[in-house]
Amino acid sequence: MSGPDEVIHQSMRLKIMATLNPLPPAEPIEFTRLKQILNATDGNMGAHLTTLEKAGYIEVLKDFVGKKPRTRIAMTNTGRRAFQAHVAYLREVLDG
């Protein structure tokens, strides 16, 4: 049995990954929407997103809509595989 993914296992990062996982591949979600869904603050979310981005699990996309800046988050293929492996590990612990 492999170990837990320590990047994903933290509660807020686990929720972020679980929220991104059902979206179609590379489908981004707006930062403000993700924050609203998870009931999180800007600072809290920002730090966890940076950790996930550094691990290569998510991609942070920044652009402008008209003059307004927009930040969107998408799960990468690496992130999806890591999340699935972490879920498999949790199931193994539960079943074992």
Partner: protein, 189 residues
């Protein structure tokens, strides 16, 4: 780091909740443009029916024809936004078309059986059916949709018995406007 069974169960429950909520919200957001378009069609058709002479016979056929390329445009836009692959018509599009065909078939069958004497009866029947359909969908989608459906149904019945002048415009606002409000709520929820 090691985990015991209760820690794993807790984490899996958290994942399950977050995934379910995310999948529901994604489905709401993907469905709302189709509902918005349907509501706008209904409103436009009834306003044309009420306030123009050609609309008495042609409002609904013309609006229905215009809606087909509009549905396809939404489906292609959503497909392109999601993927870099060539656009294709997604499940929401085909479900929207199927819902229209099923409702059309049901309404045609019901009207064939009961043979209403006036356009007002036909309109009220469709408005009532729409309101009840929303309320049923709300049993899965949330109390706001139930309230919206019951509101449309109640206002339709009120209109049927008490609104005599500008009845088509009233129904356009109640049915089409209600559907547009519901679609906007789904997008923001």
């Amino acid at each position: 780091m090691t985990l015991d069974k209760s820690g794993a169960a807790e984490a899996l429950a958290e994942i399950g909740q977050s995934q379910k909520r995310s999948a529901n919200l994604y489905s709401y957001a993907a469905t709302s443009p189709y509902l918005l378009l349907t509501g706008a069609m209904w409103l436009a058709a009834d306003l044309l029916l009420e306030f123009t002479t050609f609309g008495k016979h042609w409002a609904w056929p013309i609006v229905s024809l215009v809606s087909i390329p509009a549905y396809i445009a939404i489906a292609i836009y959503q497909s392109r936004r999601r993927s870099s692959r060539p656009a294709s018509l997604d499940g929401h599009f085909w479900r929207s078309i199927a819902i229209w065909l099923l409702i059309f078939g049901f309404v045609a069958g019901a009207l064939g059986i009961f043979w209403p004497e006036s356009g007002v009866q036909v309109h009220s029947f469709i408005g009532l059916l729409t309101g009840i359909a929303w309320a049923i969908a709300g049993l899965w989608m949330g109390w706001r949709i139930i309230a919206l459906g019951l509101g449309i149904a109640a206002l339709t019945m009120a209109g049927h018995f008490w609104v005599h002048d500008f009845y088509a415009a009233y129904m356009g606002l109640v049915g089409g406007g209600g559907m547009m409000l519901g679609a906007l709520w789904l997008r923001r929820v």
